[in-house]
Amino acid sequence: EPEVTQTPSHQVTQMGQEVILRCVPISNHLYFYWYRQILGQKVEFLVSFYNNEISEKSEIFDDQFSVERPDGSNFTLKIRSTKLEDSAMYFCASILAGAYGYTFGSGTRLTVV
């Protein structure tokens, strides 16, 4: 069964540093998402991406965040200047189309120190 792959599985970074979280969605999927889960809290929507542009973003997704799909396979989330409160598990997901369920990656645990 095809999988969504996320790297790294765990990243530790210093406050103020830039981080890039990487995802390889399923190859024929068309819609891509980032969600995050702060420890002990619910999974929250960050951003959706379709047709090479952001289709919706949450209020969490401020100017410090950006997404890219530079080469047609990787889907990246960049945090420009990390804050302590960015520490969370970040999940990438993709779907073929609206009638289908999501496939989630295994997540990247980001720890900002």
Partner: protein
């Protein structure tokens, strides 16, 4: 705006007992409801979606629009069902979104 409420943070049952994980939602349109499961240290996996009306691993869930609920049920719990369960709602806006709104999750523990 959409909201998903899972009133129980923790649920503990004995093996063989029935289990019901509650989920209520708030959404002005016609929702699509899902249950996702997360076993220890693993990724979120789709367990059920209401439009398919199938039974996975013995779990079922019925969408009750009158009560705005989508409770997850299993008549006889197994130890391997121990996991975190998330109810989620999908709404469509602008025809190119399909984002999910999650509840806070219920940690189910099935004791031997």
């Amino acid at each position: 705006a959409q909201r998903v409420t899972q009133p129980e943070k923790l649920l503990s049952v004995f093996k063989g007992a029935p289990v019901e994980l509650k989920c209520n939602y708030s959404y002005s349109g016609s929702p699509e409801l899902f249950w996702y499961v997360q076993y220890s240290r693993q990724r979120l996996q789709l367990l059920l979606r209401h439009i398919s009306r199938e039974s996975i691993k013995g779990f079922t869930a019925d969408l009750n629009k009158g009560e705005t609920s989508f409770h997850l049920k299993k008549p006889f719990a197994q130890e391997e069902d121990s996991a975190m369960y998330y109810c989620a709602l999908r709404a469509v806006s602008g025809g190119s979104n399909y984002k999910l709104t999650f509840g806070k999750g219920t940690l189910l523990t099935v004791n031997p």
